[in-house]
């Protein structure tokens, strides 16, 4: 019988759906709260070959992934994919390098460079994001030089080292929504629109999920982006622009509990099936 190690911190509705999907398939899930583990290679007793990394804490999830990989466990998503997707700047670099349409961006470390970079990006407004982070936290749409100076000074004085790296992205005017596609090893299994009158459309910030048809264009760009970062279980945040679709960000421990109902697709089931396939191919 296949056992999947589910690496977690808190258990959200998403993990509950995964546990249920595994039960339906008669697959054993071993819950591993990584906060309670001693990750010591010399002493760790491991009784599973495949692990699904679902930690809400990116830092703990990364350490756990690297640990389990080091003792021969196949972790989904692997540490290479996570290292790219956890960092918005690295994701953008890879997407641009592999010719996947994505908004223009730049990284700077001080206010003077920021002003020059914004000219290169076509002027205000721009979006400033922490390279690390999620759920739309600390995103700023910067409309003018006064706001830019204020935000950068606050980050410089109050922020952690990560907050002092200024990731700037060209602001994309959206039609009141963006798209999230759910992609497993390059195949888009479903997608949602995230509608919101606010420019931040995350469902964690009140964006409303409705079904989005998986068009050929969406499927193609999602596959390209998935291939660019190394595949696995991913979700893509996609902008609709006058020039076609663009990939904004890629999530490597995607949340999906609000997306199964509108799409009618068992994303949790597809995740478990992916783990089973990996386990059978070991």
């Amino acid at each position: 019988m296949i056992t999947i190690g589910l690496l977690h911190t808190t258990i959200r509705g998403d993990e509950k759906l995964i546990i249920e999907a595994a039960k339906k398939r008669n697959i054993k899930i071993k819950l591993i709260d990584v906060r309670e583990e001693i990750l010591n290679r010399k002493t760790y007793q491991c009784d599973f070959e495949v692990a699904l990394e679902r930690c809400v804490s990116t830092v703990k999830g990364n350490h756990a992934t690297r640990f389990f990989e080091s003792i021969g466990v196949k972790v989904i998503n692997n540490s290479s994919v996570s290292a790219i997707c956890e960092d918005k700047f690295v994701t953008s670099l890879i997407l641009q390098k592999t010719h996947v349409p994505t908004p223009d961006f730049a990284m700077v470390f001080n206010a003077d460079q920021a002003q020059q970079a914004i000219k290169q990006l076509g002027g205000f407004p721009v979006v400033i994001k922490p390279p690390f982070g999620s759920w739309g936290r600390l995103l700023a749409k910067v409309n003018d030089i006064d706001a830019l100076e204020t935000i950068l000074e606050h980050k410089d004085v109050l922020g952690s080292p990560h907050q002092k790296s200024f990731y700037l992205q060209k602001y994309i005017k959206k039609p009141g929504r963006d798209i999230r596609s759910f992609v497993i090893n390059g195949v888009t299994i479903c997608a949602i629109y995230r509608d919101s009158p606010h420019w931040i459309t995350n469902t964690a910030r009140g964006g409303v999920a409705t079904n989005c048809p998986v068009t050929k264009e969406l499927s193609n760009i999602s596959k390209k982006a998935s291939d660019a970062v190394g595949g696995g279980i991913l979700s893509m945040d996609v902008f609709e622009t006058a020039d076609g679709l663009q990939i904004n960000e890629i999530n490597h421990t995607t949340e999906f509990k609000n997306s199964e109902k509108p799409t009618g697709v068992s994303i949790s089931g597809a995740i478990v099936d992916c783990c089973i396939k990996v386990a059978k191919n070991l």
Binding site: I11, K16, V56, S57, S134, T253
Partner: protein
């Protein structure tokens, strides 16, 4: 079904039989986000869920 109490408002909280340790739930009365801190046999201990940290997310 397992019954325990909210650590914030003390109202009785009923947990379903498939509840997991570390699961996040909401108190039905005061709506505080709670975590199932300990689950052994017929005993469940709830605590206030940890606040969102900088590295949390997808």
């Amino acid at each position: 079904m397992l019954k325990t109490n909210c650590p914030i408002c003390d109202v009785q909280v009923t947990l379903s039989k498939n509840t997991e340790e570390s699961e996040i739930i909401s108190c039905p009365d005061c709506h505080t986000r709670l975590v199932v801190a300990n689950l052994k046999g017929n005993t469940a201990i709830l605590e206030e869920a940890p606040k969102v940290e900088e590295d949390w997310g997808e």
